[in-house]
Amino acid sequence: MNFDPDTKVLVQGIVEPLGSVHAALMKEYGTNIVAGVSPGYGGQEIHGIPVFDLVEQAIPVMGAIDTSIIFVPPYQLLDAALEAIAAGIRQIIIVTTGIPPLDMVQLVRQAEATDTLVVGPNCPGIIVPGKIMLGTHPGHLYLPGSVGVISCTGTLTYEIAYELTQAGIGQSIVVGMGSDAIVGSSFSQWLQMLDEDEHTEAIVIVGETGGNGAEENAAHYIAEAIDKPAIAYLAGQHTPQEKRRGHAATLIASKLSVKEGLTETDDWGAERKIQAFKQHKIPLADRPSTLVKLVKKALSAKKK
């Protein structure tokens, strides 16, 4: 993981409405955006960022690029990501939403083969407060500090960061992984990275009671492999939920007709997720303000 302020960043799809707006915001936050790519716009400049037709044209001019942030339309995403990997870029953040899952399967295979870190799709990306912002996080809500946040939600990620900041708890890094059925990197990958990160003293997991089993797996992984204090917040613990929420992360396997006779509901069982955290004695909050208290407690226990 390489998220230093001097890390070189490229924006693919910089002429898209979303790409243009966020390129400007990232630059304003201090992110070192060295180039943009949008085929047909080579030679132009956007917000003072030079635009190229191809990723490989930017590299001889700008030197090796560490991270690409992608805003291209969904059916062009796989191609854009493969182009970045082929050009030697090893960190990719996908903001685009609506990507066919089988495109993600192809991308994940290539990313694993080349040891490329992929975050997203459909995600806010990564922010190291005060240093670098890669994605769509609202920078003014964050505060530099020692708590790492890993989330599979969108605007709720901003909410949690805001609550921590309001309470004077700074963040070492905040990662929004996205919540699609197939995502580039998972809770366990990020837990491992933050466990090794010297700037992180405690780790916060943000998820939901519905959707797939990602949060449950995170609980088991924390118990097995994580030494630093970890605290979780799951949204939806007090809300009776319908069979399927509007999240892409519904358990696809539940579509099997053969299971219809077996399971009463499609709900992954909020109870099961909650139990997983309780079983491993991982502090679990049921509202953001409680999460703040639990994080404070974990940090002060560490100091002793």
Partner: protein
């Protein structure tokens, strides 16, 4: 999008997956021109499972019985769904039945092949024998043979079943499917295999790049609502948004409560609902107007969705207090506030007011003070802190009681 059995079988036929001779029946009288020799099976074409147990599948021996059975099935709803068409299919004498499927597994982040030596409707028995192979790298037929062996198949059946699986996998990838399932795959006494029933689910995000699938489903649908929902899903998010049509705006008329909740983001909505329940409140309707991260996103689009959302949620007569919780970043918060101000102006100009309700706006935005300014003449309480917004909401609910 779930395809009907006869549509799935049309895809199987294109892939050379063996299926029985069959004919689509649009009305009972179609059976007089049946080209398949009796006995035949009449099957209700609905998306729900369990149609056999519900009486949606009947064996018939002659035209008179067939017409009568068809009339019965056309009038039989299965999980609330009436069939638009039936499928008449030759009868098959299966010696054994298997289960086969290709599906995407989120945990493995790969397609998986599933197979069971027991197929059919006894789900528990099918699951008990279920075997699984993860297609880790690029697909090659050995993955299919690996599953056939795991299923405990021997001799010629290994190749016969692997061939079917290979074709299922090709279909899965070519058409961007979420699921291809054959249940049961009939096996005759001579070792011939036949897809007796099939299920195909197309991926909603990918459907716009498969006009052939859209055509397959629309050309046979006489129901206007079905056709429009397919037309809906065959357009990109961008096209939908450009037309001011936001499919994510599904209003959930929730419960027997009196608090309306509108948020941008599913997780944020869940958190807000949790807090209302914890404070002893009860939601009436709730609505997620979507994250700002849409491909077609512009500040205007999110504003349009807010406008449309307000219109939707205030139709619910049970809403006495409406809590709006928004994180507006890059989408200027003051523009969102302007949408709300306009809403109140429109209301004021109407002679007959719709139901009367109170509004709380919780806004996180760098434009907070400008938003406050633009709402100063509206009956809206605007706050920045979430717990405080909940507190205010509950206060209003109680004052109305």
């Amino acid at each position: 999008m779930d395809l009907l059995e006869y549509q799935a079988k049309e895809l199987f036929r294109e892939m050379d997956i063996p299926v029985l001779p069959s004919q689509r029946i649009d009305r009972p009288t179609d059976l007089k021109g049946l080209k398949i020799p009796y006995p035949v099976v009449l099957k209700s074409q609905v998306r729900a499972g369990g149609r056999g147990k519900a009486g949606g599948v009947k064996f018939v021996e002659n035209t008179i019985d067939a017409v009568a059975a068809a009339q019965t099935i056309f009038h039989l709803p299965i999980v609330g769904e009436y069939p638009e068409v039936l499928l008449a299919e030759a009868k098959y004498n299966a010696d054994r039945e298997f289960y086969l499927a290709v599906v995407l597994d989120a945990g493995a982040r790969r397609p998986i092949l599933l197979g069971s030596k027991i197929g059919g409707i006894d789900a528990e028995a099918v699951m008990e024998q279920m075997q699984l192979v993860v297609v880790d790298g690029e697909f090659s037929p050995f993955y299919a043979r690996r599953l056939a062996l795991k299923m405990g198949l021997e001799g010629n059946l290994i190749q016969a079943v692997s061939d079917i699986l290979e074709k299922m996998y090709q279909l899965f990838v070519q058409k961007d499917l979420d699921l291809v399932e054959i249940n049961p795959l009939g096996v005759s006494a001579t070792g011939e295999v036949m897809a007796l029933d099939g299920k195909v689910t197309a991926n909603d995000d990918a459907i716009a790049r498969h006009p052939d699938l859209v055509k397959l489903v629309t050309k046979t649908s006489n129901r206007p609502q079905m056709t429009s929902s397919i037309a809906q899903s065959s357009r990109t998010t961008e096209e939908k948004a450009a037309e001011g049509d936001f499919p994510m705006l599904t209003l959930h008329p929730a419960r027997d409560g009196n608090i309306g909740v509108l948020c941008n983001g599913a997780g944020l909505l869940l958190t807000t609902l949790d807090l209302i329940y914890l404070a002893g409140g009860k939601p009436a309707s709730f609505l997620n107007i979507g994250e700002a991260i849409l491909q077609a996103w512009t500040p205007t689009v999110l504003c349009d969705r807010l406008e449309r959302g307000l219109e939707l949620i205030t139709r619910d007569k049970n809403v006495e207090v409406l809590l709006i919780n928004l994180h507006c970043h890059a989408t200027a918060g003051d523009r969102m506030a302007a949408v709300i101000a306009e809403y109140w102006q429109k209301r004021a100009s109407k002679a007959r007011l719709p139901n009367d309700f109170k509004m709380i706006l919780r806004l996180v935005s760098s434009e907070f003070s400008r938003a406050q300014e633009s709402l100063k003449d509206c009956p809206v309480t605007i706050v920045e802190n979430l717990e405080q917004a909940i507190h205010q909401t509950m206060g209003l609910v109680k004052s109305k009681a």
